[in-house]
């Protein structure tokens, strides 16, 4: 039931307790109990909204930055990652297997700000060996949701 609860919430965090209880076939108390547990355990980390900023007049620039690290004694991935993710403009940081070490997702208002973050802040962190910055040109799908998808029912209206 936990998994089902989480997958409903992942798609719709605005759903209320009573509806959750109906959909899952359990009592509201049970839902509340599960939710508070999941929040306390840090399984549920927030109730965010998926926004397609491209449809607003607000300018946003997003970049994916591949970061290569050189590790020193006493300074592992985690401590370097921490120095990066503490910047609020950093949206996400992932440790990656393969050709580079960290994937940093950065969101800023302008290209210039991204450039200055990479050259002024990111590259100067101890242990950062090199970076490669990729700008996102268009988002097709985000958080499992296809953006700009027209929801049209193509079925015949009545079928046996």
């Amino acid at each position: 039931m936990k998994e089902e609860l989480l997958s409903i919430l992942e798609k719709n965090s605005r759903i209320d307790f009573s509806e959750l209880a109906v959909l899952l076939g359990v009592s509201e108390e049970e839902v509340l109990k599960q939710l508070s547990e999941l929040e306390k355990e840090g399984v549920i980390c927030g109730y965010h909204t998926l926004i397609n900023w491209e449809k607003t007049s607000i300018e946003k620039v997003m970049a994916l930055i591949e970061v290569k690290l050189t590790l020193q004694r006493g300074r592992g991935f985690d401590s370097i990652a921490e120095r990066i993710y503490n910047y609020p403009e950093v949206r996400a940081v992932y440790l990656i297997s393969g050709g580079y070490d960290l994937l940093v997702i950065l969101e800023e208002k302008t290209l210039k700000e991204i450039a200055s973050f990479v050259s002024g802040k990111l590259s100067t962190i101890d242990g950062v060996l090199s970076t490669a910055t990729h700008f996102i040109l268009k988002k097709y799908k985000d958080h499992g949701t296809i953006l700009n998808k027209e929801d049209k029912d193509e079925r015949e209206v009545i079928t046996p």
């Binding site: 089902e4 997958s7 409903i8 509806e19 109906v22 959909l23 899952l24 076939g25 029912d153 079925r155 015949e156 209206v157 009545i158 079928t159 046996p160």
Partner: protein
């Protein structure tokens, strides 16, 4: 022109659904809960296999019985999900949807005057297919108080010495009823005693919400007298691919294959390749869709309870079958008035047999958002009816 036409075809009455369809089609802004197919798209990996098959030039006929790979996968699937062992070499026939399997299965067993027992409410094609095969349909009116399950007594009283085959349509369209193991055991006993066949249409077998579906062919001594029908339409959301299959003893499959070979040749090749992929790696998709249907089912049952609309709890397919007898209207009157006043299309229960009178079929192959809007209108409608009375 009339003199050129076949009497037996002329005498078949057109589907009750068709009539309603014409009314709905004229209303542009109506929303529908009348659809008998999944709202999900076919999972992408399955569609891709279809596309690859075309790219690789798999555009020829397959063998009459269907791709060998597909028959092997069907056999493995039936073993994995049910306690069924069918030999892919000679006990499985790939058909153009479950519909074709129903048609040729009946034609392969009927001699003139044989009787086919059809429990109703049920899918619209059993009766016409039986008639076209030259049989006499014998209808059993299923009862709401039995949750529309078939009982051994009902079956016994319909059997005569002309009875050839019972059609067993569970999980059921339109009622959403299921038959659990103990229900099936009682039926199986009668079938064996009376030495008749059963055609078990299990097209909704993946969509049950109270334990796992049990096939009647799993029961002792039943495989040799069962034509099992299943397909890809409902379980993998593949209605438009037109692909189903029949499993039966090899003597029967042999005769069915003959009809299939002359009437159809083989099921669509692209669809067969896609179906191989569905069976190999589609289990996860089925689980996800089933979970979504189950949430909607719970939502509807809760909504009916709140508005005081009587409905037994269905545990199969994606239909609920509420009773509207309290409003003193026929199903068709209710559905027509509801459509005109609230612009929501439902199917009157009578489209699935006379005993569907007093009931409506509501499909939950719709998103929760759509269901909420439609159910809001239903609530509005029935509270007005109640205040008028």
């Amino acid at each position: 022109m009339r003199k050129f036409l076949s009497d037996s075809v002329i005498n078949i009455k057109p589907s009750g659904i068709r009539k309603f369809f014409d009314i709905v089609s004229e209303m542009k802004d109506a929303i529908s809960l009348g659809v008998g197919e999944p709202d999900f798209d076919t999972p992408w990996h399955i569609r891709e296999e279809g596309i690859y098959a075309l790219e690789r030039g798999k555009t020829f006929y397959t063998s009459n019985a269907g791709l060998k790979d597909l028959r092997f996968e069907i056999s493995k699937y039936l073993k994995r999900h049910f306690e069924l062992n069918y030999n892919p070499e000679n006990e499985i026939l790939v058909t153009v949807g479950g519909s074709e399997a129903i048609d040729i299965g009946l034609r392969a067993v009927i001699n003139p005057g044989d009787e086919v027992i059809i429990p109703q409410p049920s899918y619209v094609s059993y009766e016409p297919c039986a008639i076209l095969a030259g049989a006499k349909p014998v209808i059993i009116d299923l009862k709401a108080e039995n949750e529309f399950r078939l009982t051994a007594d009902e079956l016994l009283s319909a059997i005569t010495d002309k009875t050839k085959v019972l059609i067993l349509p569970y999980p059921n369209n339109p009622t959403g009823a299921i038959m659990e193991r103990e229900d099936l055991e009682k039926i199986a006993k009668v079938i064996k005693e009376k030495d008749i066949l059963v055609m078990s249409d299990e097209i909704y077998s993946e969509l049950t919400y109270k334990g796992k579906h049990v096939s009647i062919a799993e029961l002792d001594g039943m495989k040799e007298r069962t034509i099992l029908i299943n397909g890809f339409s409902k379980s993998y959301a593949m209605t438009g691919w037109r692909l189903g299959y029949a499993c039966a003893p090899k003597e029967l499959i042999q005769q069915m294959t003959k009809i299939h070979q002359f009437a159809i040749m083989c099921a669509p090749t692209t669809s067969q390749y896609a179906a191989v992929e569905a069976l190999k790696t589609g289990d996860e998709d089925v689980i996800k869709m089933r979970q979504a249907y189950n949430q909607r089912r719970r939502f509807l049952m809760d909504a009916f309870k709140k508005m005081g609309l009587s409905c037994f709890e269905p545990y199969g397919a994606f239909y609920v079958f509420p009773c509207i007898k309290e409003f003193g209207m026929t199903s068709e009157e209710f559905a027509t008035k509801f459509l005109q006043e609230e612009k929501v299309a439902l199917v009157p229960g009578t489209a699935f047999g006379d005993c569907g009178e007093g009931f409506l079929r509501i499909s939950y192959a719709y998103s929760l958002e759509n269901l909420k809007i439609a159910i809001g209108r239903l609530e509005h409608f029935i509270s007005r009816l109640r205040s008028e009375n």
